[in-house]
Symmetry: C2
Subunit: 401 residues, 2 copies
Amino acid sequence: MAPIKFSVEKKIPNRLGRAGILECAHGTIQTPAFVTVGTKATVKALTPEQVKELGAEVVLANTYHLYLEPGDALVKTAGGLQRFMHWEGPTMTDSGGFQVFSLGAAYGKSVSKIADARAIGASDEENPQSEPAGKLVKIDNEGVTFKSVLDGSTHRFTPERSVEIQHNIGADMIFAFDECTSPSAPLEYQREAMERTHRWAKRSLDYHESKDARKSQALFGIVQGGRFEDLRKESAKYLASMNFDGFGIGGSFNKDDMYDSVEWVNGILPEDRPRHLLGIGEPADLLGAIENGCDLFDCVAPTRMARNGALYTLHGKINISNARFTGDFTKIDEKCACYTCTHYTKAYLSHLFRAREMLAATLASIHNLYFIVNMVKKIRKSVLDGTFTEFRESFLAAYQT
Amino acid sequence: MAPIKFSVEKKIPNRLGRAGILECAHGTIQTPAFVTVGTKATVKALTPEQVKELGAEVVLANTYHLYLEPGDALVKTAGGLQRFMHWEGPTMTDSGGFQVFSLGAAYGKSVSKIADARAIGASDEENPQSEPAGKLVKIDNEGVTFKSVLDGSTHRFTPERSVEIQHNIGADMIFAFDECTSPSAPLEYQREAMERTHRWAKRSLDYHESKDARKSQALFGIVQGGRFEDLRKESAKYLASMNFDGFGIGGSFNKDDMYDSVEWVNGILPEDRPRHLLGIGEPADLLGAIENGCDLFDCVAPTRMARNGALYTLHGKINISNARFTGDFTKIDEKCACYTCTHYTKAYLSHLFRAREMLAATLASIHNLYFIVNMVKKIRKSVLDGTFTEFRESFLAAYQT
């Protein structure tokens, strides 16, 4: 029996987008769905109950971080990620590829998943401080050797090792080891990296299929190819030919061609398996990615921005630290039904941020995650109702980026 | 009608200690009770729901801090402390005296409520970093002039102003303005400060009685007198003769004579009004103070220690950052029924502390507050059951300080 079961409920007419149901060992996800990031086996500043209450259905932890601290063997001994962190729903881990490569700054260029620097929305907290190029990471055809950001010790990830670590962590859905390149990498390097990612995808899958974890954990293969149409299509065809339970779509994109890239890929990937767009989570990006056939998304932007006081509203983001909010006794967003908006005013949040109180991060994270998670739920409903286009137009008309 | 109603249910035989019921405008407190500190209108790292769930019945905020940030006028506009911070139970504010004086380091000596340095348990986070003596504070017979720790601006508290600020903040129970001295201050200075505190108590009460807030807010007078028996008794007699709704017992004490001091005072204070021992909260201190007639206690120790990884167990405190806990999959305290102990292991908490995750502070604070709040509830039950002495002996035999 397959570790996950995915079915498409309804499609957006003439588009690749769809609403579906994804059944995992630890619960069911209604797609499209925003995947909450819990980098180090905790969604920053929130209890699992708070994460669940705001509507999140699934948590993604980072393999790189858990491998270094507290170690995947310890998470395994604890009974796996879910038990360790007391999250009772479905879980995912990424492959560690993005973090490993971001340490090496992708051959001298700082890594971002989207070339146009969209500040917080495009950057990732899983991305540790960059060191000079190549200093911390060395890629060869068999794997990657890197130094720990914690203590400088040397480590090595191979496709087999990445999957083994993810078996130990024990999430419901895991990813094949991949190489994440910079959006500005030239064609020849993108091809070389893509071909390496393909070989690693096969090795990841072979290793996974040889283990018992195959029965309870779903393995997703990752499509790469940068911003080049021919590479993206070649990568999608190659991955689609393999026995993956689902697919990831990895960076890197240019801001303006992300939806095209996603459409190239999703037009080729099999319709009966879920597609996860890695590291994307700004409202406009979610609309474009869902329209073009993506089912899952993870991004640290909502929680990271929340901790910096940047809060979503239907009219765009506000910075709660702005002086004009100190005496504002309205909610962050008058139409929002989250815990934070139900009980607290902008004036109170403004006070918490100015006083550097930890509750500031908690309340802001609840609001931002609720905003994004429930925005995706509304998109899902619009797909089911046949009103996606109206929803998108109406949302984008009000939302100022 | 009085703003609060207090009744004694049962006394400890041959002692001053008692169990009682304290009815306030915003709820009922079963005494003895530990008062959770929410310095800046937030119990650090916790939502009000988490505070309530762990068993806390009342929150105390600090007048000094709220006056400086966000300002008492803003809290008033918000509808008062309860509405501002979304705490639906009873509230208190202190007079600001302790913070104001701790800034001035009480004429050249650093202020602590207990002379013997008991590290965290005796220190307070409401006590900002000390500056050289007299630099930030100037006391005269009419009031205190001080500089803000936030921006160096000059402010002045008088008894009238302290009570006015507390009216604006709007807590159920408030305190008369007092001077908190160092335990090491000589007799002559303690007498001078006590007499000033008495004059300020009368002025605080006069101001309070002239205002409508009298109907909804209870005013507590504060007994001072340091570690001198004659001063403590004189102070208790003086305060007892006045029309206060309850009483605070202020520092300073020596470690060894605190219970004596409390007994001197509570033997004189009227039995039909609640007594709040200010700033005390270590387990052994709570037992001694309750035995000797105190009903309420506030202390930042449980939450401050929690944020530093020092966690209460029935056998004493442990430091969760200790290496031996990294692979320990047992609870903090096997007999504890708090949210944290119900769902998480020491290994997980150890991981959160090492990774400097905010959830560490939340889970640790829940545990420590639950421990103290519920220890006081157990003491209350033992008073009602007539088993206080057995409870005390059994607790102290197991608990290593």
